[in-house]
């Protein structure tokens, strides 16, 4: 079974600082990768996704992530954060089995990001 590890559980930054949130997964096969954001009291929203192709993917709100297959990593980045980026960020993995499958995503434990004005 696959697992996801997010390195930082809590991150506090000042506005305009650069952000990088680490995500590593363990699974030997092909995966699709996601970052979801959950603003306080709200539901999970997709930030970006990687299925195949260019390993550097761009998402909404200026976020991007880079898939490094050799490191089993999918780190999230943003050059300059804003106060409104305060939220919980979840990395998630979907393992592609040879027979397809409708099993759920495996989420990391999440990173609570606080941006100070």
């Amino acid at each position: 079974a696959q697992s996801v590890s997010q390195h930082n559980h809590h991150v506090i930054l000042s506005e305009a600082a650069s952000l990088e949130l680490g995500c590593n997964y363990s699974y030997g096969g092909t995966v699709n990768l996601f970052w979801y954001v959950q603003y306080p009291g709200q539901h999970l929203q997709l930030l970006l996704k990687y299925f195949s192709g260019d390993p550097l993917v761009k998402g909404i709100k200026g976020f991007e992530a880079e898939f490094i297959k050799s490191k089993f990593s999918f780190n999230l980045r943003k050059p300059s954060v804003q106060w409104s980026d305060t939220a919980e960020y979840f990395c998630a993995v979907h393992a592609l089995y040879s027979g397809g499958g409708a099993d759920g995503l495996t989420f990391g434990k999440g990173t609570h990001l606080i941006i100070q004005p």
Binding site: N32, F34, Y36, Q42, H43, L44, Q45, L46, K49, F51, F90, A92, V93, H94, L96, G100, G101, A102, D103, G104, L105, T106, F107, G108, K109, G110
Partner: protein, 114 residues
């Protein structure tokens, strides 16, 4: 665009009571997933359905059951509620059997067990 609809948004129950949560997927989505998110926790996969049949099962307690109906909406039934069942329950849907894993989440149903 239409999103995943969950009801009720908030629910308060006593221990040992029963609760039912409903989920209406995005139109033409045939797969529904249920997740449980405890306070400060990551979402935990409970169960999924494809074309009205159970597809995969995660960490769903035996006290819980779920089904998907002919109109593709799904219901999660929870019996003998315990304090630890207090959580945010998310439903998500996707649109194809060979899933890419991309899920569209509803706003969740917050269950509080007293």
């Amino acid at each position: 665009a239409a999103g995943v609809i969950q009801s009720p948004r908030h629910l308060i129950k006593e221990k040992r009571e029963t609760a039912t949560l409903k989920c209406y997927p995005i139109p033409r989505h045939d797969t529904v997933y249920w997740y449980q998110q405890g306070p400060g926790q990551d979402p935990q996969f409970l169960i999924s359905f494809y074309e009205k049949m159970q597809s995969d099962k995660g960490s769903i307690p035996d006290r819980f059951s779920a089904q998907q109906f002919s109109d593709y909406h799904s219901e999660l039934n929870m019996s003998s509620l315990e304090l630890g069942d207090s959580a945010l329950y998310f439903c998500a849907s996707s649109g194809n059997r060979v899933s890419t894993g991309e899920l569209f989440f509803g706003e969740g149903s917050r269950l509080t067990v007293l």
